[in-house]
Every structure is written in structure tokens, then in C-alpha cells.
């Protein structure tokens, strides 16, 4: 590697330099390609399990070939697929809608003059991200939902309500509730990326704005926001491509029999139908379906970005 770079160094100016440099770059990338080859691409041989009746330990060639049987079962197996899809997409869209919040939050923090205060706010708001969903469940239960919860106790003592509120069983507001909890949990942590993006904005731009007599708000609109756009769009595209994965734990733990109609999402469906019953072929088929949908969504979003903004991101 060092000899290659030395060689490159010598010939930078030379005409053949570019070609050498290209080769060096590819060579430098090679070890990492090998790594994703091993850990990400090699296991894909397992996708073949979706097309046979797979039994662990039995060679794939000895398993009965069943074609698309398991894919059919995803879509037509029970009458639930459409409902699951509706819930999944609705919750994802709501989450995407609110994905602008971390950026706003990061800007708000960056406007705080006391650096120490900014740091404390930032540290504190990232705490919820570290709390496991199981504990989030117990807290929501104890603080908001149960008869003896803090919320009910306070509201009752103020005489505002007679009957206890039970937000966890409220099917009408189930989506709003889950999206709200998700925002609370991820806001501070997701703002980190934007905070680091804000620091990359060239300070000269602010100085130039100052010279033009811009106020803080104008500077945010004309300097900070454009500076965050590329990060925002990258994350937006990733969120769009991940529409089918809104996470298992949250909906499994915070959902219950009363809200299931609104909170059964694709990830819980996969678990309920596939993994829990040791249906490995079915679980694999669901995984393939998810991968394909994600990649297609990403391509579409990328194309859209190219058409609308003139830049394709990936």
C-alpha cells in the first residue's frame, strides 16, 4: 500500500497518474468490499430457504421445492395483510412527517448562547434513546395509563376527570400515541447528526450575512437550513426506504389486544406468523419481500430527488 502511494505521489503530475490513482483507490476499497461480501452478501445464500420447505440441518438440495408458496402465504395466508400494511405505512408516514423535528431541535440548541446549557440540554434529551422499550412500556403504564398512574392521580385530584384515562387501550389515538412516544424517544439522539452538520457550515457565510444586516431568524433560514438540507434529504431517503420497518419492540410491547387493530405492523406480523412458529421459510420470504420493497422505494425516492432537486443522493 505504501509503495503504491509513494508511486502515486511521484507521478501526480504525470498523465498516467490518474489511472494509477484509480487503481490504487479500488485496491484500497477492496478489503472493505471483501468484508461486506462476507458479512452481508454471503449469507444471502439463505434466501433460497424461501423457495423450499426448509428444515435446519438438511441440505438445501434435499428440501422440497415449493416455488412461491410462502410468498403467497404472506399476502393471502390470513386476511390480515392489508390491515398490517395500512398500519405500517400510516405509522411510517407519520414518523417521516415529523422527521423534521430533530433538525429544528438541533437549530434551537445551536441558538442557545450559554454553551453549557446547550450541552446539558443535548445530553439530557438523548437519554430516552437509551431506555429499552420494555421500560418505556412500564413507564407509560405507570405514569400515564394505569388507574393509579401519575396522570390519572393528578387529573382526578384537580377534578378534571372522573373516569381514569387509559391511553394505552385507546384505539382511536393509537397511532398518534405511538408516534408521539417515538418522537420523545428519538428526538435528542437524532439531533446529534444535525448538530454535527451545523458545525460543518462555513462560518464565513454567517459573517457575510451579518454584513448584509440579517437577523438571527434570517440567518437560520438563509444559511443554517440550506446547510442542513443535504443531511436532511439523505435521512429522508433512508426513512422512505425503511417504510416497512417500524420496529418490533415498540409495537409488540406497547400494543395490546385493544389496539391491535391499529398497531399490528409488519415486524410484529413477521414474528407472530413466522419466527414464533419456527416457520423459517416463511420468515425468509418475508425478509426478501421487505428487502425488495426497501430497495425499490429507495430507487424511486432517489429518482424523485434527481427529478425534483436535480441531485441524486445515492
Amino acid at each position: 500500500m505504501t509503495t503504491a502511494t509513494q508511486a502515486v505521489k511521484k507521478k501526480t503530475a504525470a498523465a498516467g497518474g490518474k489511472r494509477k490513482r484509480q487503481i490504487t483507490l479500488v485496491l484500497l476499497l477492496l478489503p472493505f468490499l471483501v468484508m461486506i461480501g462476507i458479512f452481508n452478501y454471503a449469507p444471502l445464500f439463505g434466501w433460497s430457504y424461501a423457495f423450499v420447505d426448509y428444515t435446519p440441518g438438511v441440505s438445501i438440495w434435499d428440501c422440497q421445492f415449493v416455488g412461491l408458496k410462502y410468498f403467497e402465504r404472506i399476502f393471502f395466508g390470513s386476511g390480515d395483510f392489508l390491515r398490517v400494511l395500512r398500519n405500517t405505512l400510516a405509522i411510517s408516514l407519520l414518523n417521516i412527517l415529523f422527521s423534521v423535528l430533530p433538525a429544528i431541535f438541533a437549530i434551537a440548541i445551536s441558538q442557545v448562547r450559554s454553551k453549557r446549557y446547550a450541552k446539558i440540554v443535548q445530553t439530557c434529551t438523548s437519554i430516552p434513546n437509551f431506555i429499552s422499550w420494555v421500560l418505556v412500556y412500564s413507564m407509560v403504564y405507570m405514569l400515564l395509563s394505569s388507574e393509579a398512574s401519575a396522570l390519572n392521580t393528578i387529573l382526578k385530584s384537580l377534578g378534571l376527570i372522573e373516569e381514569s384515562l387509559s391511553p394505552l387501550t385507546n384505539v382511536d389515538h393509537a397511532w398518534a400515541m405511538q408516534v408521539g412516544i417515538n418522537i420523545w424517544k428519538t428526538l435528542g439522539y437524532n439531533a446529534i447528526i444535525y448538530l454535527s452538520a451545523i458545525t460543518s457550515i462555513d462560518q464565513e457565510l454567517y459573517q457575510a450575512a451579518d454584513v448584509d444586516g440579517a437577523n438571527t431568524f434570517q440567518k437560520i433560514i438563509h444559511v443554517t437550513v440550506p446547510g442542513l438540507l443535504s443531511t436532511f434529504f439523505v435521512l429522508l431517503l433512508l426513512a422512505i426506504s425503511n417504510m416497512l420497518s417500524n420496529g418490533f419492540d415498540q409495537f409488540w410491547l406497547l400494543g395490546n389486544g385493544m389496539t391491535w387493530d391499529k398497531l399490528e405492523v409488519f415486524d410484529t406480523y413477521v414474528y407472530r406468523m413466522g419466527i414464533r412458529n419456527m416457520e423459517y421459510s416463511l420468515a425468509t420470504a418475508m425478509g426478501i419481500f421487505k428487502s425488495i420493497v426497501s430497495i425499490v422505494l429507495l430507487s424511486i425516492a432517489n429518482l424523485g430527488s434527481k427529478k425534483l432537486r436535480g441531485v441524486s443522493i445515492f
Binding site: 505521489k9 445530553t123 437519554i127 431506555i131 439523505v234
Partner: protein, 303 residues
């Protein structure tokens, strides 16, 4: 940012103080709803299970250290902490190094088939083969009961590469070009220019990667098994097992309850565990934070 506002004329400062006050107050409220849960976990971890179900909201009124005693009794907890810290430190260093280098190469304007290579990395985010083929592959290259299984599979992660690459691309191109004209090679530019300039995003990745490493235990469950697994288990897995043991009572028959009767309820044990595992993160966090909240004077670097 701070420098920018400091440079503001005094008049404007006054006019904006209302907005600023609102900002302060809103942030404070946000902070409260984020910090209170931590306090809630803390006080509940020192309460008896009975008082938890009654509601402990401000201070524990039925003080008990039972949950922590239970954690202390876990056998081999010392070695598991060493493993957890090692995997976090080594894994994070490797991840940050690999991902930033990949991102740099992928952002390099001379890389041929740039889009193709980049997409090869991106697609890995969406490929999930299921745990059985993954297990077969990883144990096939000899990583079963091997410490490397904790760090190698996480070395190259597309999500981090995307974040770093986006950041690197925002660094003005002239900087790199001028260095190239000075005769700096690819690796040297990475080392002397890209790494220092991307400190904010690298700090972010350090936090993300370290937290992931610290919290992961499922690889332990699948890959560290049986008689050669001594001193290879990490803290989170031991804690997880402890939790499972306390819920054996729940998932099995009366006989199990009588036989393996662990008297701490899963909830209070969970509270104690969360506190024990979140606390180190919060201690280390501020050290990384100064990198992503502090601006880097690009102008100064230029000069």
C-alpha cells in the same frame, strides 16, 4: 454559531430576547420530560416491587437494594465487564476507522464506477438473510467462541458510511485539491486532512457505534456457546440472562416457581439494569459531545 450571535449589534439582541427566552423555556421542558424518566428508573430501582406497582414518582418510599444485590450476585460479572468494555472500545475504533476510510474513498472524485461501489455498500442495509444463514457464514469462518465476532461484523456499516460521506462532501473541494497539488497521497490526505476535518461527524459515529456495541447481546447468545465460551460473554448478555431467570417464574409452571424462585420482580430488576448500563454511557457522552457541538473554523484551516 455562538461567535456569530456574539458579533450581533446590541440593538438586535434585545429585540430577540423574547424568542430566546421561549427557546430556553421550551428546551427546559423538553429536558424535563427526558430527564424525569431517568430519575424514575433510578428511584424505582431502589424500591420494592410492591411499591413500584403502586407508583413511585418522586422519591422511593419503600427503600430496597434487593435488585442491585441480585445484579452483584451474578457469577463472572467482572470478566463480562472487561469483555463489554473491550468490545465497545475496540469495536468502535475499528468501525470509525473502516467507515470513515470507506466514505473517503467512495467520495473520492477519481474513484471509477463510483456509483456502483457506493450502491454495493448501501444495499447491505436492506439485505437481511435471517439468522440461520448468518450464523452458518460467521461460524463458517471460525468466529464461533471467538472474540472477533463482536467486532468484525460491525466494522463496515453502510449507514455510517452514508453519514460520513455526506459530511466529507460538504468539505470544500479546493482544500483537498490544493493538498494533492502539494503532492500528498490518498492515505495521507485521509489521515492528515479528512480525519481532522470530519471530527464532528466522527464523534457522532463514535457515539452511535459505541452505544450499539455496548447494548448488543444477541451475537453473544448465538456465537458464544458451551465449553469454550468461558470469559467471552459480555455484560449485557449476563444481565439479559438474569432477567430471563427472574421471568422463569412467569413462563413456566408452578414447579419452576418453587424450584427457581427468584424473588425480585422482572420490572425492578430491569430498572436496576437499565440504570447500571445507561450510567456509563452518560458519563462518557459529554467527552464526545464537545466535538459535535463545537464548530470548526474552516476558514482557519484554510489559512
Amino acid at each position: 454559531m455562538t461567535t456569530a450571535s456574539a458579533a450581533m449589534p446590541k440593538k438586535k439582541k434585545k429585540r430577540l430576547s423574547v424568542a430566546n427566552t421561549i427557546n430556553y423555556v421550551v428546551l427546559f421542558l423538553l429536558m424535563f420530560i427526558c430527564v424525569y424518566p431517568m430519575w424514575y428508573i433510578f428511584i424505582n430501582s431502589f424500591s420494592t416491587p410492591a411499591s413500584i406497582t403502586r407508583g413511585v414518582f418522586i422519591l422511593p418510599y419503600d427503600f430496597s437494594t434487593e435488585a442491585y444485590q441480585n445484579l452483584g450476585d451474578i457469577t463472572n460479572i467482572g470478566s463480562s465487564i472487561v469483555v463489554a468494555v473491550s468490545r465497545t472500545v475496540l469495536g468502535t475504533i475499528l468501525t470509525v476507522f473502516c467507515c470513515s476510510f470507506c466514505a473517503y474513498i467512495l467520495a473520492h472524485r477519481y474513484l471509477p464506477c463510483k456509483k456502483l461501489f457506493y450502491r454495493l455498500f448501501i444495499v447491505t442495509m436492506y439485505l437481511n438473510a435471517g439468522f440461520i444463514p448468518y450464523y452458518l457464514t460467521v461460524s463458517g469462518i471460525g468466529l464461533r467462541n471467538n472474540f472477533l465476532v463482536y467486532i468484525l461484523p460491525y466494522a463496515v456499516q453502510a449507514y455510517f458510511i452514508i453519514l460520513i460521506k455526506t459530511y466529507i462532501e460538504s468539505i470544500p473541494g479546493e482544500l483537498v485539491e490544493s493538498a494533492e497539488i502539494d503532492g500528498a497521497g490518498i492515505v495521507r490526505i485521509y489521515w492528515q486532512m479528512i480525519l481532522p476535518l470530519s471530527k464532528p461527524i466522527l464523534a457522532t459515529i463514535v457515539v452511535f457505534a459505541a452505544v450499539n456495541q455496548w447494548n448488543t447481546w444477541s451475537d453473544d447468545m448465538y456465537f458464544m456457546q458451551g465449553r469454550n465460551s468461558a470469559n467471552l460473554h459480555c455484560l449485557q448478555y449476563l444481565l439479559y440472562q438474569e432477567l430471563q431467570a427472574s421471568s422463569v417464574v412467569d413462563t413456566s409452571s408452578a414447579g419452576a416457581a418453587a424450584g427457581a424462585g427468584i424473588k425480585v420482580s422482572p420490572t425492578s430488576l430491569r430498572m436496576a439494569m437499565s440504570f447500571v448500563t445507561i450510567f456509563p454511557i452518560l458519563c462518557v457522552y459529554p467527552f464526545m459531545q464537545r466535538y459535535f457541538t463545537k464548530g470548526i473554523m474552516l476558514g482557519a484551516v484554510k489559512g
